[in-house]
């Protein structure tokens, strides 16, 4: 039997809600898969959608962006911008045949340690099902 594929997930979390929520999951010792690696940004609005493309190119099998629930953004509106931009990116990725399971976005508040775990589990399961994204890796071809 072959070993289960362990996808590599890069996540972008806003400092105030989702990163704090992930910290809360830690303080509460809520266990979740280690496949997820987090980049802290101040706001989900900071996430340039091209980061997602870049992460997939540079070795991520899946990408997760997480911010505050609508209305809860520490900066009032940042998550609304993120929502609009990342929706467009998602459409573009799907249209070009990138498995939609490679990109997830979530709202996770500072108190949602459990939700964070669920989101991570989904992102990992999704990316696992999508498989390694070797086709798109930044490769140094021609030897």
């Amino acid at each position: 039997m072959s070993e289960q594929f362990e996808p590599n997930i890069v996540a972008f979390l806003c400092n105030w809600c989702s990163y704090a929520g992930a910290d809360l999951a830690g303080t509460s010792r809520i266990q979740y898969p280690a496949n997820i690696k987090i980049i802290r940004v101040m706001c989900s609005g900071r996430v340039n959608p091209l980061y997602v493309v870049n992460a997939l190119q540079q070795g991520a099998d899946g990408v997760l962006v997480s911010g505050c629930h609508p209305g809860d953004c520490h900066y009032m509106e940042g998550n609304f911008y993120a929502r609009r931009r990342l929706k467009l990116l998602k459409e573009l990725l799907e249209f070009t045949g990138v498995d939609p399971r490679r990109f997830n976005m979530s709202w996770v508040s500072a108190s949602e340690g459990h939700k964070w775990k669920e989101v991570v589990e989904k992102a990992v399961e999704d990316a696992r099902a999508a498989g390694p994204f070797d086709q798109f890796r930044r490769r140094q071809i021609g030897w």
């Binding site: 830690g26 609005g45 900071r46 340039n48 209305g71 009032m76």
Partner: protein, 666 residues
């Protein structure tokens, strides 16, 4: 010229918090192999003095110019390590943390996986720290004034402390009088002080304090700006009574055509008031208010030939032309003390609160036993047939608390004791009464609480361990159906009065405050403090502090303590007269900015404007950031097509290498 990066990487064991799950030696070894790493070490507690000293010595000895600490969340100790760097002359922003505890050892059991992940996180931190830039935080003047929202005991105490320290306070209260919940209480547990007696002087102090501007019957409408410089807009609702003329004589209320026709909110609806009213006799300010939803003149445009209150008022204070007034001012800090609501027992229909007049809440009981209450302190209830003095009385604990079925998992912390207190007061007033308390657990954790609990049991109050399933009527009695879980006996006990010890809930209109001040909520829906242990009065919004039950249920001494804490915290920027502006703000690269203005549209703080500059002889527009207004969220940056606006410490050139390191392509 930037010098070549020389990195020190420090991996914390956090006792065994990290080291038990992450192979810190392996991570250290790996860190040593990363580009530009000069020293890599691990230590039991990096945040401890010796831990920090380790870093400081290395900076001096090895000439380190960048530091990576792999330990807990940067939300925890980033300021600690920044300070350490600064103390030895290194720019505090040359620090990057890898969160290998909250997002590592604490959430992954598998040692191999947690270690591998820790290595990757360290590699990403190393990749980023090499490209960080030195930043200097600037300072701006802080407005020497504070806003306190809510004038219950928490708000009053905070306002008094700040005002006593010599700073102006705007104390905003949405109801016509200050006092809040504490004013509704009869006695306080466990000391049995008269609540009004200890509160009223403070209410008066707050109203008369030369540094306090009391804005009662007012609501905060807008808060802009930032710590040190908040712009506040308050709506003073029209009372239709000229407060400068009103003497509080009360003739108007007596003469009102709708005199004593409406449930009095202050008495939890047990007493009545007129359309023009004073909420309670000791109200501060002692000025009457016309209820615009009830007043005939205001709702229908006429009240007999002429409004009776106008005729009755010798001071000629009635003014139906009065309009809401908008007041604006600047403050340097804000204390939120908006209090709580009590649980609405209608949500537990099995207790029959809406069906039986002799099922009442604990707060209603307060009014009933209060000498200033609607019955003058006589415990009289209507059992559906007649007014009676109840002889058999039940208390049901944890109504709306510790109850997942109504969405409140938390303990409200005061109900056990207020029940004990009320039981005691009943025994005091009706010595032949039988009082039973149905409880799940009795939590008597505070100073003097256990003693008080013992005392009331000695007074003959019976405690029955069981959570009643139903209350129904049998004859003129209420039947409490319950299983005594200590004896495993099903009971159907009969009572004249059942008091539901309702729990505390966040205010139903909290959303408004959340939106105004960018607050977060904890899972219990109360306002979220910045740190549960170390910053219990701070919020995620700089300069905004929490006091009292808006942060979570607490009793009066805890509320007052927290209010004093919030006041002390709010005083910091006020007393310093300056606040540091975050250095991690956005910066425009003018050479490539094409002046499209996307960032201007995006910025939630109107911190960006377009300015005309001369570029090689051409007038062109470019974006410019007002660093005092920018909060560094970076939404502008992700929306800039030419990447010409970049938040410092979160630039694309700093994040992309992080992505590459996490991606792990070699």
């Amino acid at each position: 010229m930037t010098e070549k990066p020389k990195l020190g990487v420090y991996i914390c064991h956090c006792g065994i918090n990290i080291a038990a799950t992450v192979d810190v030696e392996e991570v250290t070894e790996y860190a040593q192999s990363l580009p530009n790493v000069v020293v890599a070490r691990n230590y039991s507690y990096m945040c401890s003095d010796p831990g920090q000293l380790l870093i400081k010595n290395d900076i001096k000895e090895h000439g380190l110019n960048r530091v990576v600490v792999a330990s807990c969340s940067p939300r925890m100790h980033e300021p600690t390590f920044r300070k350490a760097l600064q103390e030895v002359g290194l720019n505090p922003y040359y620090l990057e943390m890898a969160n290998i505890r909250e997002q590592g050892s604490w959430v992954h059991e598998d040692r191999e996986a947690a270690t591998a992940k820790a290595k990757t996180l360290v590699a990403a931190a190393v990749a980023k720290v090499r490209l960080l830039e030195p930043l200097t935080s600037r300072e701006v003047d802080a407005e020497p004034a504070a806003l306190v929202i809510g004038a219950g005991i928490a708000g009053i105490q905070a306002a008094l402390d700040i005002a006593d320290a010599g700073f102006k306070v705007y104390l905003v209260e949405k109801s016509p009088s200050v006092g809040g919940r504490m004013a509704q209480l009869d006695k306080t547990f466990p000391t049995l002080d008269c609540s009004a007696c200890i509160l009223t002087p403070k209410m008066v102090d707050a109203a008369n304090h030369p540094n306090i501007e009391l804005l009662a019957y007012s609501e905060v409408e807008e808060v802009g700006g930032f710590v040190g410089n908040f712009d506040v807009k308050v709506r003073k609702k029209a009372r239709y009574v000229d407060v400068s003329k009103c003497t509080g004589c009360g003739d108007c209320a007596k003469e009102c055509r709708l005199a004593n026709r409406f449930p009095n909110e202050f008495d939890e609806g047990l007493g009545k008031r007129s359309a023009i009213y004073l909420p309670f006799p000791q109200a501060v300010p002692a000025k009457y208010t016309i209820d615009p939803e009830k007043c005939l003149f205001l709702t229908r445009g006429r009240c007999g030939k002429s409004p009776k209150c106008v005729d009755a008022c010798r001071a000629e204070a009635i003014d139906f032309e009065q309009k809401d007034e908008i007041v604006t001012f600047k403050v340097g800090a804000i204390v939120v003390a908006t209090g709580f609501d009590v649980f609405d027992p209608a949500k537990k229909p099995e207790y029959g609160y809406t069906d039986y007049p002799n099922v009442i809440t604990g707060l209603e009981m307060e009014r009933l036993v209060s000498a200033s209450g609607p019955t003058g302190g006589d415990i009289v209830v209507h059992n559906g047939e007649e007014e009676i003095t109840p002889k058999e009385i039940a208390f049901i604990q944890c109504v709306g608390s510790r109850d997942q079925s109504v969405g409140n998992e938390y303990c409200s912390r005061v109900c056990c004791m207020y029940t004990a207190k009320q039981a005691h007061l009943i025994k005091d007033k009706i010595p032949d009464a039988t009082v039973k308390v149905y409880y799940m657990d009795v939590r008597a954790f505070g100073k003097g609480f256990e003693e008080f609990y013992d005392r009331v049991r000695r007074e003959g109050i019976r405690y029955v361990r069981g959570n009643p399933s139903e209350i129904f009527k049998r004859g003129n009695k209420l039947v409490v159906k319950v299983e005594d879980t200590l004896t495993a006996t099903p009971l159907e006990d009969e009572f004249d009065l059942v008091v539901l010890a309702v729990g505390l809930e966040p205010r139903s209109d909290d959303r408004k405050i959340i939106d105004l001040l960018r607050l977060s909520q904890s899972p219990d829906r109360f306002f979220l403090e910045a740190h549960p242990k170390l910053r219990p009065v701070d919020t995620a919004s700089d300069g905004v502090f929490l006091a009292g039950c808006c942060q979570g249920p607490k009793d009066i001494p805890d509320t007052v303590a927290q209010a004093k804490g919030a006041a002390a915290s709010a005083l910091i920027p006020l007393a310093r007269g300056k606040v540091a502006i975050d250095a991690q703000v956005a910066e425009v690269i003018e050479d490539t900015c094409r002046g499209c203005g996307f960032c201007v549209s995006i910025c939630p703080y109107t911190a960006i404007e377009l300015v005309t500059i001369n570029r090689m002889g051409h007038s062109v527009e470019v974006a410019r950031v007002n660093e005092a207004l920018c909060k560094g969220c970076g939404s502008c940056s992700a929306g800039c097509l030419s990447n010409s606006i970049q938040p410092r410490s979160f630039r694309d050139r700093q994040i992309l290498p992080q992505i590459a390191a996490l991606g792990g392509i070699r």
